[in-house]
Amino acid sequence: MEWSLLAQGGLNGVMLGVNYALIALGLTLIFGILGIVNFTHGEMYMLGGYVAYYFFGHFGLNFFATLALSAVLVGALGVILEKFIFRPLTKRPKLELTSLIAAVGLAWVFQMLAIIAFGDLDKNVPSAFKGILRMSGVVITVERLATIIIGLCLVVLLNVFLLKSKTGMTIRAVAQDKEAAALQGVSVDRITALTFGIGCGLAAISGALIAPIFGISPNMGGEVILKAFLVVILGGMGSVPGAMLGGLVLGFVESFGCLFFSVPTVMVLTFSIIILILILKPKGLLGHA
C-alpha cells in the first residue's frame, strides 16, 4: 500500500468526518435542549441540498451566499417546526415517544413532498471550486479541500459561539437546567426555538456544502440521519465535543475501510466497532455519567 493512497484516505476521512460532525452537532444541540431526537434532521440536510441545486446551480447565486441562504431558510423552517409541532408535544410530560413518532412521520412527509416538488431522480449540482492540487503524489480536488476547510471553519465558529457568546452560554444553561435558566430571566421557549433553528441550519449547510460532491435526491437524508444519530451516540448524547470526535471517527473508519474492503464489509466493520466502543463506554466517548 502506497503512502499516498493512505494520505488520500485520510483526506477523504476528514471530509466525511467534518460533514458528519456538522450534522451531528445540530442533532446533539437539539437533543441537549429538547431531549428529543430530531428525526427530521436528515430532511433538513436534504433541503439544504435542494437550496444549493436551485439557488447556486440554477439561479447562479454565489456559493457562499447559497450556504448562508440554506441555513437561514431551513433554520427558519426549524423554528416553525419547533414552535408548532415539537413544543406542544414536549410540553406534556411522558410524551417522548409521541414526539419521536411525530418526527419520524414528519421526515416521511418531507421526503414525499420533496419527491412531489422536485421529482424523485438524483440531481447533480455543479462544482463550486475547480482544479486539482498535487502534493508529492497526493491528488486532491480543490473542491474537496474547500469542503473540508469550510466545514472546519463552521465547526470552529459554532464552538466559539457556544463557548464565548452570551447567547451561546444561554443555550448551554438552558440545556443544563431549564427551570434554573428561567429563574435568571431567560425566555426558555425562545432559546429552545433558536437552538432548533441553529441545528436545522447546520444540517442544511452540510447538505448544501456536500451537494456538488455527492449529488442530491429526495431520500439523501435517510442514510445520513442514521449516521448522524450513530455519531451522536458514539460521542455521547448532547455532547458537543463528542459530536465532533464521533464524526471524525466515523469518517476515518469509513474512508480507510473503503481502501481495504468492499462497502458492505465496511458497514459491518463500522457498526461492529461502534457497538464495541459502546459496550466499553455506554455513555459514548465523551458522554457524561
Binding site: M169, T170, R172, A173, Q176, D177, E179, A180, A181, A182, L183, Q184, G185, V186, S187, H288
Partner: protein
C-alpha cells in the same frame, strides 16, 4: 410591605399543594417560612417567582400584582429565587454561573460592583472562578447559588433551604452572610427545615402545615412557642 401574598391556592393537577395561604414580607426584613417535608414551602416560592401558576388569590410586589407574570418579568421587577437543591449549571464555570445571574442586565460598572460584593461575601469563589460549578463542595455550590441570585441586584431574595446538606459550621457561615445581605436593604424570604437557624436570623416567621399557615408571629416568640419547639426544633 414589599411582598404581599393573599389567599393563594396552588394545585398540581387535581392535588392541592397550597391552600389559602396569606403572609407578607415587610421591606428590609427577613421572614422565615418553616414546615415539614411536603408542607408546600417550595411551591410557595415557585409561585412567587412565576414557575408555578397560582389557582386563586393574589401576590403583589411593591404594591403591584405579579401573579400571572412570566419568571422573566418577575426577575426584572427585582425578585430573585435561589431554588431548592441550588440548581447550578453544573457544566459551566463559577464565573459563567454568576454572569447568568446578570442575564437581564448590561455588563458594566454596576454588575462589576455586584460581583466584587459577592467575592467579598464569599472570598473562596474568586479562586474557583474558572472551576466547573458541579465540581465544587456543597457549601461552595450554595455560595455560587446565592451569588448568582444576587447578580440580578434583587430587592427581594427567595432562599429555599440554603442550609440543607451543609455542615453546622457552613450553615452558620451562610446564615451570617444572609444577615449581611439583608443589611444592604435586600428583603429576604427564607424557607428552612432547620427552624432554629431560620428563626434565629429572621424578624418574623410563618409555620406551614399541609399547605396552610398554622402559626405566625415574631421570630423570637416562635422560637419559644411550645408547639414549634416540639414539632420543629426537636426540643
Amino acid at each position: 410591605m414589599i411582598l404581599d401574598v393573599k389567599g393563594v391556592d396552588v394545585n398540581y393537577g387535581k392535588v392541592a399543594a397550597v391552600r389559602n395561604v396569606s403572609f407578607s414580607v415587610s421591606k428590609g426584613s427577613i421572614v422565615a417560612l418553616i414546615g415539614a417535608n411536603g408542607a408546600g414551602k417550595s411551591t410557595i416560592l415557585k409561585t412567587i417567582s412565576g414557575l408555578e401558576p397560582c389557582n386563586a388569590g393574589e401576590i403583589s410586589f411593591q404594591g403591584q400584582r405579579i401573579n400571572g407574570l412570566s419568571p422573566q418579568e418577575i426577575v426584572k421587577q427585582g425578585i430573585s429565587h435561589v431554588p431548592e437543591g441550588r440548581r447550578l449549571f453544573p457544566e459551566m464555570t463559577v464565573g459563567e454561573n454568576l454572569s447568568m445571574g446578570a442575564y437581564l442586565r448590561k455588563w458594566g460598572g454596576d454588575t462589576k460592583n455586584d460581583l466584587d460584593a459577592i467575592f467579598e461575601y464569599f472570598p473562596v469563589l474568586k479562586q474557583r472562578i474558572r472551576q466547573k460549578a458541579g465540581s465544587l463542595s456543597g457549601g461552595e455550590q450554595q455560595m455560587v447559588a446565592i451569588g448568582r441570585a444576587l447578580m440580578s441586584s434583587p430587592k427581594l431574595l427567595l432562599l429555599d433551604e440554603p442550609s440543607t446538606g451543609l455542615s453546622p459550621i457552613m450553615s452558620q457561615t451562610i446564615a451570617k452572610i444572609i444577615r449581611v445581605i439583608n443589611e444592604k436593604q435586600v428583603s429576604i424570604l427564607l424557607v428552612e427545615q432547620n427552624a432554629n437557624l431560620a428563626l434565629t436570623i429572621a424578624d418574623s416567621g410563618y409555620v406551614l402545615e399541609t399547605g396552610s399557615v398554622v402559626l405566625e408571629g415574631n421570630a423570637q416568640q416562635l422560637l419559644k412557642d411550645e408547639a414549634v419547639k416540639s414539632a420543629y426544633l426537636g426540643i
